[in-house]
C-alpha cells in the first residue's frame, strides 16, 4: 500500500464519521416499504377510486372527460401527450436504452453506460438555437452527418468533457455530450450513428387531465411544467418535493390534507402525500387564471409514478 492508498483509506474512514445518523431510519424504511407496495395504485385521489377511474378513462373526481372549463383562463383537457425525442443510438451492449426528458423546453435523451470500461454516459440534446458554453474549452472542427460540427473539450478532472455540436437542420441543433472514455473520433462516430426515432419523455406522473393549449416545458423525475405558447416562463408547475410541513390546511384532495393559497402572483395548492413521504405542489402563475375547483380537480388526477423522485 503506497501513500496514495493509505491516504484514500484514511480519507474514507474519516468521511464515514460524517455520515448521516440512523435516527428515524427504521420508520422511514417501513414507510417506503409500504409505499412500494402501493406504488402501482397510489394516486392523490385514493387507491380504489384511481384504479377504477383510470381504467374507465374518466377524471378521478367525476365530471366530463373532454372539456373541463375554467373561468377565463386555463382549461383542463383529458390526458397528457408526452413530447418525443426524435433520435436514438444503435442498441449497444454496455449501454442502456435511452431515457428522454424535457428541461425548459429542450428535449434530451440519456444513454447510460452499464459497462464502464469501454463506454461512458452519453446525453443528446435537441434545441432550436445554437447551444453555447461559458466553460473554458478547446474547440475543434469536425464533420458530422454531412454537417460542420464543433467539438468542445473541457479539461476538467477526473475526465475531460467532450461535447459535439452541430446544426442538423434549419432550427434544429444537436448537442452530444460525453467524456474522454471515448476518443474524438469515437464521439464523431457515435454522432454519425444517430437515427430517427420517437422516444416518449417519461413523466413522473400520469395526469388524468392537463392544461389544454399549454406546451410541456419540463418533464423530469420530480416536475411537470407547462408554458403558454410564446410565454417566457412556465406558468403552470407541478412539483413533487420531499415532504414539507403544510400550513393553512383548508381542504382535502382525495384523502390527503391540502392547502390552497392565493397570492397576487398566483395560486399554489400543496398536497400532503403521506404515502410517498412527499408534498405535491401545484402552482399557477397570475398570468394564467384557474378556479379553485379546477386546481383541485387537476391535483386529484395526478397519479404519482414509481419513477418519480421528490426534489
Amino acid at each position: 500500500m503506497d501513500e496514495l492508498d493509505r491516504l484514500l483509506a484514511d480519507t474514507m474512514r474519516d468521511a464515514a464519521g460524517h455520515a448521516p445518523t440512523d435516527n428515524g431510519l427504521l420508520g422511514t424504511v417501513h414507510r417506503r416499504s409500504r409505499r412500494l407496495r402501493r406504488r402501482r395504485t397510489a394516486t392523490v385521489a385514493g387507491v380504489s377510486l384511481a384504479v377504477v377511474a383510470v381504467a374507465a378513462g374518466v377524471p378521478l373526481l367525476g365530471g366530463e372527460p373532454e372539456q373541463l372549463p375554467a373561468a377565463g383562463g386555463v382549461q383542463l383537457a383529458a390526458g397528457w401527450t408526452a413530447p418525443e425525442f426524435p433520435y436514438t443510438l444503435p442498441k449497444t451492449e454496455g449501454m442502456s436504452d435511452p431515457i428522454a426528458t424535457s428541461e425548459n423546453g429542450q428535449l434530451s435523451a440519456f444513454f447510460e453506460a452499464t459497462e464502464l470500461e469501454n463506454h461512458a454516459d452519453v446525453t443528446v440534446t435537441v434545441s432550436d438555437d445554437e447551444p453555447g458554453s461559458t466553460a473554458k474549452a478547446t474547440k475543434a472542427t469536425k464533420r458530422v452527418r454531412g454537417h460542420s460540427a464543433t467539438l468542445w473539450t473541457v479539461n476538467v478532472k477526473p475526465a475531460k468533457q467532450l461535447t459535439l455540436i452541430w446544426q442538423e437542420s434549419a432550427g434544429e441543433w444537436i448537442e452530444l455530450a460525453t467524456d474522454d472514455t471515448y476518443t474524438p473520433a469515437q464521439v464523431v462516430a457515435i454522432a454519425d450513428s444517430l437515427t430517427g426515432a420517437s422516444i416518449a419523455v417519461q413523466p413522473p406522473f400520469d395526469l388524468a387531465v392537463s392544461p389544454a393549449g399549454l406546451e410541456t416545458d419540463t418533464a423530469n423525475a420530480s416536475r411537470m411544467t407547462f408554458r403558454a405558447p410564446g410565454a417566457a416562463t412556465d406558468g403552470f408547475r407541478t412539483v413533487l418535493r420531499k415532504r414539507q410541513q403544510l400550513t393553512g390546511i383548508d381542504r382535502k384532495v382525495g384523502k390527503y390534507d391540502a392547502a390552497l393559497t392565493r397570492r397576487p402572483d398566483g395560486v399554489t395548492l400543496s398536497v400532503d402525500v403521506t404515502d410517498w413521504d412527499a408534498t405535491l405542489e401545484i402552482t399557477v402563475d397570475a398570468g394564467l387564471t384557474i378556479t379553485d375547483a379546477d386546481l383541485v380537480r387537476y391535483a386529484a388526477g395526478v397519479k404519482i409514478l414509481n419513477r418519480s423522485n421528490p426534489e
Binding site: L4, R13, D14, A16, A19, L26, E112, E115, E117, K157
Partner: protein, 171 residues
C-alpha cells in the same frame, strides 16, 4: 455477519446495522441525502424478501451489494457529477502537520466525489471495505480485469491531480 439465522428479524437488523450501512453508502456516494436515499430504498425493497435474505450466510453482504448496484444504476447522475476537481482548494504548503493531513483528506474527498461512479465504487470496496479484487468483481458482476482497470484509471487520475495540487509528496 450479523444476519446469521432466520429468527433475526428485519427491524433488529436495521436498528443494529443501519448506521454502518449509512456510513458505507455515504462513503460510496459522497452525499448525505443520497446515502440516506440509497439505504432506505434498498432496505425497503428487501423488506418483503427478508426471510430469504436471513437464510443466507452473508446477508449483510447481500444488502451492501444491493446498495452498490442501486448506486450504480441511480438516475440522478447529473447532481452526482457536479462535483469537479477544479473546485479543489489550493494547498497552503507541505503536509507534515496534523492540520495539513486534515486538509489533504478534505481534498482527497473532493477528488473522490468527482470520480465516475464505477471507479469510485471500486475504490470504496477496495480501500473502505478491504475487499480483494475477485470479490469486488463478483459484487459488481464484472471481470477482475475490469476491476483492475477501473482502479488503475482512478488511481492514476487521482495521483496526477494530487501531485499537481501538492497534496502529498513523493508517494
Amino acid at each position: 455477519m450479523l444476519i446469521k439465522n432466520s429468527t433475526t428479524d428485519f427491524d433488529e437488523f436495521v436498528q443494529g446495522r443501519g448506521s454502518a450501512l449509512l456510513r458505507f453508502a455515504f462513503v460510496l456516494s459522497g452525499d448525505a441525502h443520497l446515502a440516506e436515499d440509497l439505504v432506505q430504498e434498498v432496505l425497503a425493497r428487501l423488506h418483503r424478501r427478508w426471510d430469504r435474505i436471513t437464510a443466507m450466510d452473508h446477508g449483510e453482504a447481500y444488502v451492501r451489494t444491493a446498495i452498490v448496484r442501486q448506486f450504480l444504476s441511480w438516475r440522478r447522475r447529473r447532481a452526482y457529477r457536479e462535483a469537479v476537481l477544479a473546485e479543489v482548494p489550493e494547498p497552503g504548503g507541505g503536509y507534515d502537520e496534523p492540520q495539513q493531513n486534515v486538509v489533504a483528506r478534505d481534498q482527497m474527498w473532493q477528488l473522490l466525489r468527482g470520480l465516475p461512479r464505477a471507479q469510485r465504487a471500486v475504490l470504496v470496496l477496495r480501500f473502505y471495505c478491504d475487499l480483494p479484487d475477485d470479490e469486488i468483481a463478483t459484487l459488481l458482476g464484472c471481470r477482475q480485469s475490469t476491476v483492475r482497470s477501473q482502479a488503475a484509471r482512478a488511481l492514476t487520475r487521482m495521483r496526477a491531480m494530487m501531485t499537481e495540487q501538492g497534496v502529498y509528496g513523493n508517494g
